[in-house]
């Protein structure tokens, strides 16, 4: 459960997050909003790359902001980035080891990496170099990295951007397995409303730093405010 209280982020004159209060508790929840609404910024606050000007964030009751970014990773926070960040000259397995090195005990690393590869069906590609991967495979590697070392909270920034419908469907099935099999909560950003609708039980809509709506996805998407501001319907 992520409890956000009066969160403010300020970059010079811009306030990408403006006094946001929200509690997100579904196993897989969505985060949507227009471009520049502050979605990535919120993820950056959660992972510690941006220090908020004010406010509180608690995950499962623990004060998140008190933790150093590395501490957050150690305690189970995982994230992917809006532009994929696979290391070109490491193999797929190497990319996973790069995180396993720091969050899994030495004797269990190989097993943890293998399990993550199995989860995302990447075992066959384990020895491919990062640079030879296509976008879908890269997104899968990013997802696999989030599964290593007992994750508690997985943050995904547009994990399906650029994927075809079939590919997003595959990805969705994998993401949906995460809470059950790994016990981690997932929060994901995407602009594909259908994808959000089909996988998130709860959705938070941001609009220029403020909360526009929060609740069960169907309700949220049906709300007139959201239809107007985000979907452009009248």
């Amino acid at each position: 459960m992520i409890a956000i209280e009066n969160l403010v982020v300020q970059f010079g004159g811009v306030r990408p997050i403006d006094n946001l209060t929200a509690t997100i508790s579904a196993p897989v929840s969505g985060l949507i909003g227009p471009n520049g609404a502050g979605k990535t910024t919120l993820l950056n606050v959660l992972s510690g790359f941006v220090s908020p000007a004010a406010g509180k964030v608690a995950v499962d009751g623990r004060d998140l902001l008190a933790l150093h970014p590395l501490g957050r990773v150690k305690s189970g926070l995982r994230r992917s980035f809006q532009t994929e960040q696979v290391v070109e000259d490491l193999t797929v397995a190497g990319n996973l080891f790069a995180i396993a090195d720091h969050v899994v005990a030495p004797s269990e690393r190989a097993a943890a990496v293998d399990a993550a590869l199995a989860f995302t069906n990447l075992r066959g590609a384990a020895h491919m170099l990062g640079r030879a991967l296509n976008l879908f495979q890269r997104r899968l590697v990013e997802l696999s990295k989030c599964l290593i070392g007992q994750p508690r909270l997985v943050l995904l920034d547009e994990p399906a951007a650029g994927l075809t419908n079939e590919e997003s469907a595959t990805l969705r099935e994998m993401i949906l397995r995460i809470p059950g099999e790994l016990g981690a909560q997932v929060l994901l950003i995407d602009h594909d409303v259908e994808l959000i609708r089909s996988m998130c039980t709860e959705t938070l809509v941001l609009d220029y730093g403020r909360m526009l709506a929060l609740g069960p996805t169907e309700e949220v998407l049906a709300s007139p405010d959201v239809r107007r501001a985000y979907l452009g319907e009248f």
């Binding site: 227009p34 471009n35 609404a37 879908f136 075809t164 985000y230």
Partner: protein, 238 residues
């Protein structure tokens, strides 16, 4: 200007020493929207990057009417009227939003620059608010708007857009779709790469499907919409 088409003739492209496009031929006609579909890794980006001179070709030709584009540097191709919006919202991060747009304006006259800017800001009012902001500080979607704006302001004869909706909110995608339809109406040829096949097929009159670097369909988009199995086959083949 006589309505010329871009003719891609037996194009072959290698990336990292491996052939990823095998003798692909097609045409992009002026005044209409064409779309190039295919699974990830099928070679869509490689095809259009080669057309724009941003990656070297390994064989074949790209022509614009009578002129040969293959072998020209990418800035020359742009000046021939073929504007590419590359994948992955790339912008000139150290420049302001407005400078990003102005640098892409090919007509140097002050009036043309002004009207070009106005037009882009009309499509993306978000950018007008941030015209002085450094582009690296934009959100992902805002960068994509800048990239699209850079194509619009060049007043090209052809626009090639790689991953149109990538990272854009539905409202913005809708605005863009309208802008592209308008552009096609004014005689501009558009080649669209788009992950949402439905959106692409709705917009386009003409469609092509790439499968592992080979063209497996080239025809009206309506046919493809009615026979989704062609597309599914291509997507699953990967």
């Amino acid at each position: 200007m006589a309505a010329r088409s871009i003719l891609v003739d037996n194009l072959t492209v290698a990336r990292g020493g491996k052939r990823v496009i095998h003798s692909v031929s097609f045409a992009v006609a002026p005044g209409r929207i064409s779309t190039l579909l295919g699974a990830n890794g099928a070679g869509k980006s490689s095809t259009v990057m080669a057309m724009a001179g941003a990656v070297p070709t390994d064989g074949g030709k790209v022509r614009l009417g009578e002129e040969t584009l293959t072998g020209l540097p990418s800035d020359r191709i742009r000046r021939h009227g073929v504007a590419l919006v590359p994948e992955g919202h790339r912008v000139l991060g150290q420049l302001s939003v407005e400078d990003n747009l102005l640098v892409a304006a090919l007509d140097p006259s002050a009036a043309a620059r002004k009207s070009g800017l106005d037009r882009v800001y009309e499509i993306f009012p978000e950018l007008a608010e941030r015209r002085r902001q450094q582009a690296s500080d934009l959100s992902g979607g805002q960068k994509q708007m800048v990239a699209m704006g850079q194509a619009f302001i060049a007043r090209p004869d052809f626009m090639i857009v790689d991953e149109l909706s990538l990272g854009l909110a539905p409202t913005v995608v809708r605005r863009l779709a309208e802008a592209l339809t308008l552009a096609a109406g004014q005689g501009i040829g558009v080649l669209l790469i788009e992950q949402f096949a439905n959106l692409a097929l709705d917009l386009a009159q003409h469609a092509m499907v790439l499968e592992r670097g080979r063209l497996v369909y080239d025809g009206p988009s309506a046919t493809l919409r009615e026979n989704p199995e062609i597309l599914h086959g291509a997507y699953l083949a990967q």
